[in-house]
Amino acid sequence: MTMFENELKKGNFVISECNSCKTIIWPPSDYCNNCFSQATWRKIDPAGKLIEFSKKEETVFGMIELEGKIRVIGKLKINPLDIREGQCVRLHSCNYDKGPQFTFVPCNGAY
């Protein structure tokens, strides 16, 4: 497993950032895709923006932008009647089980 996957399994969403030019490399990699310097790993800022969403049966999913650059498709624990594109969401949990899993909740209020 990669560092990214191992950390996800522990519940940590980590990203790689270049030591030299500070580029955020996404999807993550050991080397910077701008200057080829070594990257270091750090925890992501959990606050993000909901770019777009849809629903499969009872599961709401959507594309979320984090740190203004990273986009992931994650599960949304939001009442479908209250959801709106552009709203603030935060990373609630993550895991790795055969593949990555990301779950988001609204920034404010209960879900």
């Binding site: 777009e52 849809s54 992931v72």
Partner: protein
């Protein structure tokens, strides 16, 4: 520069049959030899196999099974656009002088591993293509008021066009209501909004200008455009635009010195109904936001100039074969051999083939 022509082709029927990848490849090659006069195994300089199958050394295996000893043989894989990528590779071998005749054969099985891109961790647990397609669809609905009925029109049209494609997975037609009544896969896509993976193979023979003369009705490759913007779907900043398609189309038109209005017949990569609507806009057939109404007009007037063989939705989508099947359709159209699918007086045709949420696109232009 050396000119390159399509001078032969072969197809299998697209189906859910449990046939081996070797058998599929060999069947499409046999079909090509059966239909191409003046061709012998010894004429072929290169054999390229387009597939997402994990079987190793397939081009050498295909060569052995069909009695060919090529100078060059290898596999080309680029997910759903492996087919047109292999054709661009063949074109390059011919233009460079390394080969005069190249056999390109594409095949995949219904269970091919190319449907999921595990590397792209940004897809999370929603790794099936239907999830990015739903997000694209929702964004297009929001931005341009595209409706579920607009999407259903694309599916009904392409299934109707596939009636006359003898190699299509199914010749069954569906009304707009049938599409709207089909199972919801997500809130934004019905089952009949989606193309289906299946088993199938297609082959083409490409030749240099000098050699093409010995074959009947060569069809010339006039323009090639390709662009890979990323491997991760989340780099597409505007969810209603397929940026790689837009760039590839411009390159192809510039190379061919052809305008979009000159195109008579077109194969678009309608992996999902929204993809046809976006491709119509991004290639420049219509302005942004007008793709849905244009597709509806085609349906209402029974005009089959876009996806005459039924597209991926009507024909089925054996990944490695799809781009090659698209090229065969345009070749037959420009040869006036498309029978009940024939577009009258077609002389210029376009193929659009793409991969992985349009992170990579190919646009090819052909002329008789």
């Amino acid at each position: 520069m050396n000119k390159v022509a399509v001078v032969g082709y072969g197809n299998t029927k697209f189906s859910n049959e449990d046939k081996s990848i070797e058998s599929l490849l060999t069947s499409a090659t046999k079909s090509l030899f059966d239909q191409t006069k003046n061709l012998e195994q010894g004429d072929i300089d290169a054999v390229l196999v387009s597939t997402n199958d994990n079987t190793k050394y397939l081009s050498a295996i295909l060569s052995e099974l069909t009695g060919i000893s090529p100078k060059i043989s290898h596999t080309v894989e680029n997910l759903c656009s492996s087919g047109t990528n292999s054709i661009v590779s063949a074109y390059s071998y011919i233009v460079s002088g390394l080969a005069d005749i190249v056999l390109v054969v594409g095949a995949d099985r219904y269970d091919c591993p190319g449907q999921i891109l595990e590397w792209d961790v940004s897809r999370g647990e929603f790794n099936h293509p239907v999830f990015w397609a739903s997000v694209f669809t929702k964004a297009h609905k929001r931005e341009f008021r595209t409706t579920q009925e607009d999407l259903a029109t694309v599916s009904a049209k392409n299934h109707s066009n596939a009636r006359f494609n003898p190699h299509a997975y199914s010749n069954k037609t569906y009304s707009i209501d049938d599409v709207l009544q089909s199972k919801f896969i997500t809130d934004d896509l019905h089952l009949l909004d989606c193309s289906r993976p299946c088993s199938g193979a297609s082959s083409v023979l490409l030749a240099s200008e000098n050699v093409a003369k010995k074959f009947e009705q060569p069809i010339w490759i006039k323009g090639i455009g390709q662009k890979t913007t990323s491997a991760s779907l989340t780099k597409n900043e505007d969810l209603t635009t397929m940026t790689s398609t837009k760039i590839a189309a411009k390159q192809a038109f510039d190379m061919a010195k052809i305008q979009v209005n000159d195109v008579n017949v077109t194969e678009l990569h309608d992996a999902f109904t929204i993809c046809e609507i976006m491709a119509l806009e991004d290639i420049g057939f219509v302005k942004k936001g007008d793709g849905a109404s244009y597709a509806r007009g085609l349906y209402d007037t029974q005009d089959n100039k876009i996806n005459p063989r039924g597209g991926l939705i009507g024909s089925g989508h054996p990944l490695g074969a799809t781009g090659i099947a698209q090229v065969i359709e345009i070749t037959q159209q420009l040869q006036n051999k498309a029978e009940k699918r024939q577009i009258k007086n077609a002389s210029i045709g376009l193929v659009h083939n793409m991969s992985a949420a349009a992170t990579s696109s190919t646009v090819l232009l052909f002329q008789s």
